[in-house]
């Protein structure tokens, strides 16, 4: 696995992400600055981490989505390259047009920072092969704008094509408004693009990978990605 972590001014989760990638794959990822115009040669995974790029000015992710490196990310994703956006990374992928829809202000207007439960809808993607379909994992969220929405036609397509990968759920996997903390439509926490190679999600699986600091539910994603990429290499 040869991962590249894209760093924008105001991003603050890039070190957590880099640490997790190293821990789960054994390879140090490259850190790529927003003003760069190319990804390192041989990159097989692009990760856009969480944070507050450009202070969330205008709209979350709006300015980062239009920075120089994003042309290279767009070209990489267009060739089928695996691309993961977490939290602000998800917002940036939506603003860049790589994923449909938008992340609005949380329905209760509060910044939410705590663990949530996610139902993994599919295990047949490179991102979720480390899980079973229907499995519930517990991972942290930390966002004020995670309330996913798109027009009705887009939502119908996402659902019809099985492109909702994670949903907010109860600990036993029930989809229930009481466990949908940010009000996202259909409790959507993570989606993939049409081709299935770009995943955006609000929660932070990279923060639950070490038993020393709690849970390891996020490990399945990165271990699965590393395995998929090492097999392909």
């Amino acid at each position: 696995m040869k991962a590249a972590v894209v760093v924008f001014p105001g991003i603050n989760r890039e070190r957590d992400m880099a640490r997790t990638l190293k821990l789960t794959s054994g390879h140090e990822p490259a850190m790529v600055w927003h003003a760069d115009t190319e990804l390192p040669a041989g990159t097989d995974l692009v990760v856009i981490p969480g944070g507050f790029s450009y202070g969330d000015y205008l709209r979350c992710g709006a300015i980062a989505a239009r920075s120089p490196i994003m042309d290279a990310v767009r070209a990489f994703a267009g060739r089928g390259g695996l691309t993961l956006g977490v939290c602000n990374g998800f917002q940036i992928l939506c603003e860049a047009g790589l994923l449909p829809g938008v992340l609005m202000r949380n329905a209760q207007l509060k910044f939410i920072c705590r663990d949530v439960y996610l139902k993994v809808e599919r295990s047949d993607t490179p991102f979720t092969r480390g899980y079973n379909a229907g499995q519930v994992i517990r991972v942290p969220v930390a966002h004020g704008e995670g309330n996913y929405i798109a027009d009705g036609e887009t939502i119908a397509r996402l659902e019809g094509e099985g492109r909702v990968i994670f949903r907010y759920a109860s600990p036993d996997g029930m989809i229930d408004p009481n466990w949908n903390h940010n009000g996202a439509i259909n409790a959507i926490a993570g989606i993939v693009n049409e081709r299935g190679n770009v995943l955006g999600m609000m929660p932070h699986p990279e923060n639950h990978v070490e038993a020393e600091i709690g849970r390891t539910d996020g490990r399945g994603m990165f271990a699965g990605l590393a395995e998929a990429l090492d097999r392909a290499a």
Partner: protein, 80 residues
């Protein structure tokens, strides 16, 4: 030339901030407010004096950056 771009949420899109402002107005005793939708206003200075060119430029700015047309509408006006 002075110009203004106004960005508003499309109808049907939930606006939690507008709702909160609506509730605050009610609790302040401002009666008769049926609903509030929050938007953004950009005051922009344009070089030159060609109104048609300015409008085209503002539309480009709105489409490329100022508005997210998935959830927002915009209006451009050259104010002189």
């Amino acid at each position: 030339m002075k110009a203004r771009v106004t960005v508003t949420l499309k109808t049907g899109i939930l606006d939690p901030q507008g709702k909160a402002i609506e509730g605050a107005l009610r609790s302040l005793g401002v009666e008769g407010v049926a609903s509030v939708r929050q938007g953004k206003v950009f005051d922009i200075e344009i070089e030159g004096s060609d109104v048609g060119h300015a409008e085209a430029l503002l539309k480009q700015a709105a489409d490329k950056l100022l508005a997210n047309t998935v959830i927002e509408n915009y209006r451009v006006e050259v104010t002189g």
